[in-house]
């Protein structure tokens, strides 16, 4: 920053980036149309979309990727490294790491998506109600939200899971997944409530809402037909990124031994099982960890692409 010419770059006002496709006058423009036009010219969007499709395929049809049984264990092969036979090697129990990694995608995506949906439902309803009816309901909901936000995320999850499903217990697959999903959503809803609340407050004072009210529309119609469609954008952006962070959170809780646990197949559990064998069998730890990180990356990138496209400030 010491060379004098740098100032020229410094002062070059960051005008709206020229986006191909915008400014063509012949089509009716809506926010979503604009968004799509921007999105399809972004490389990051296509990269994340391809990765997303790959992970969704893995979750839906794991047999497309591997014909091995993820539960089948050959103890003699315990901790064998990667080979042509087993690309990612074998884990502590002599199970195929590649097969288990592929099958793990399903758990992570189910937990991430369902927990996000529940968060959007809880936080969205609370936020819309708080913003629309304001007054005392707003104060109460905001204070309750603050109480939940007052508990740091990991801490809260550990406390709830540690008591509801202690590390010593062994609940069945569906129960433990449901518990983890509910815990993630219960701790995460206040942030979504804030986002939904501020979006609705902004939309509430627009002329079209006043017009609808003047025409005699009831609260239900105003909320669903007028306010919600216009405050969806920030909620959508936040939820995309949230799926990624919930997938990471699920793995973190499983790692601590209080989230998912066997017989569920998940990346977090695979990592947890091999943390003590980092010297001898790093492959059994790092391959699931790599898939986990790539999956989180997919949703973070997708969220960023959508945010850049939806955020009018950046246009």
């Amino acid at each position: 920053m010491s060379e004098p010419t740098a100032m020229q770059d410094l002062l070059k006002a960051e005008g709206p980036a020229a986006v191909p496709g915008l400014g063509r006058p012949d089509r009716a423009r809506s926010l979503w149309r604009d968004t799509w036009d921007i999105l399809r010219h972004r490389k990051i969007f296509w990269v994340s979309l391809v990765m997303l499709v790959a992970f969704l395929l893995m979750a839906a049809f794991p047999t497309l990727f591997t014909h091995k049984n993820p539960e089948y264990a050959t103890l003699a092969k315990s901790m064998e490294g990667p080979s042509a036979d087993a690309w990612f090697g074998y884990d502590l129990q002599g199970r195929d790491v590649f097969a288990r990694t592929i099958y793990g995608a399903r758990t992570s995506i189910i937990v991430g998506v369902l927990a996000t949906l529940l968060t959007v439902l809880l936080g969205g309803v609370a936020g819309v109600l708080a913003a629309y009816y304001s007054r005392w309901l707003d104060s109460v909901l905001s204070r309750v939200g603050e109480m939940f936000l007052g508990v740091p995320y990991v801490l809260g999850a550990i406390i709830i899971l540690g008591t509801v499903a202690p590390a010593q217990s062994s609940p069945d697959k569906v129960t433990i997944m449901a518990v983890v999903i509910v815990v993630l959503a219960v701790l995460g809803w206040p942030i979504l409530m804030r986002i939904a609340r501020s979006a609705v407050i902004q939309a509430k004072h627009q002329d079209y809402v006043q017009a609808a009210r003047a025409l005699g529309a009831g609260p239900g119609r105003i909320i669903f037909r007028h306010i919600l469609p216009n405050s969806l954008a920030p909620i959508l952006v936040y939820s995309t990124i949230t799926i990624g962070s919930y997938i990471g959170a699920e793995a973190t809780l499983s790692l601590l031994g209080i989230g998912l646990r066997a017989p569920v197949i998940s990346w977090g559990i695979a990592i947890a099982d091999h943390t003590s064998y980092i010297r001898t069998g790093a492959h059994a730890l790092f391959f699931p960890a790599a898939f986990l990180s790539l999956c989180v990356l997919t949703f973070v990138m997708l969220g960023e692409a959508v945010r850049d496209a939806l955020d009018p400030k950046l246009r």
């Binding site: 740091p152 550990i158 709830i160 008591t163 790692l255």
Partner: protein, 308 residues
Amino acid sequence: MGRYAIRRLLQLIPVVLGTTFLINYMVWQLPGDPFAGRCGQRPCPDSYVSAMRAQFGLDQPMLVQYGHFLKNMLTGDLGVDFNQVPVIDQLGAAWPITIRLALLAVAIEAVIGIGAGVLSGLKRGGFLDNLVTISTLFLLSLPVFVTGYLLQWLLGVQLHIINPTVSDEATVSELIVPAFVLASINMAFTARLTRTSIVENLRSDYVRTAVAKGLTNRRVVGIHLLRNSLVPVLTFLGTEIGSLMSGAIITEGIFNIHGIGGMLYRAITGQDYTIVVPVATLLVLVYLISNLLVDLLYGVLDPRIRYE
């Protein structure tokens, strides 16, 4: 300002009460017997269970228990754990280590995050900018424990640069790598926040005026631009101190550091709730108070913000 501070403090009271009640309720009232399995291979004799329940007040109604808890907290009496060891002694040993770790992490976040953010924000679209954008994207996607195990394996097991685990003394030099791991995600956030802030302020009138006055680049960036751009970054760093401490649970687990996080984690897996409640309360208080301080600091740093 003074009145605002007092009002914020008063608003904190219901939140603290609600949060601590939530913790107490979740820990003590949810199903599961805290004394099951404390007697080895056989079920605990009734006399032991009833004596323990009486000692820790579990035979009383929830609200009475909560009242006792508040009184003890206010008088600084943290009680004893299930093994009759005073909780305050254990806290005294673990607390300094976690503080050291968290402060080190904040320092790393500030230096690397702000540095990278400023450099990329000043030259938007340049090589460095793209590099920072991509590397922060990756850092944001790596869960803390993945970074932790990766560095432990790479630097500790493969290259022998560090010890894979930290000794009991937990000296600053040993804590650098764990602090880096703890800081990694926030560092990426800091870099991005700084970059956005710099890019926004570059367009502002006062920067244009400063350039028009003929000030040197160094002065425009260092005095005018940086000071104003760092306000949101500082508030972010401040609010994150609280969550760093609870985030330390995982980092401390990986590197075997005997801090608050490790203590809390052992207490939870060992179901010793007498440690869980005071430690969790302490962490929540640190979190809430650091948030409050940052809010107040905001007005000092940015006089445009007026408190009613």
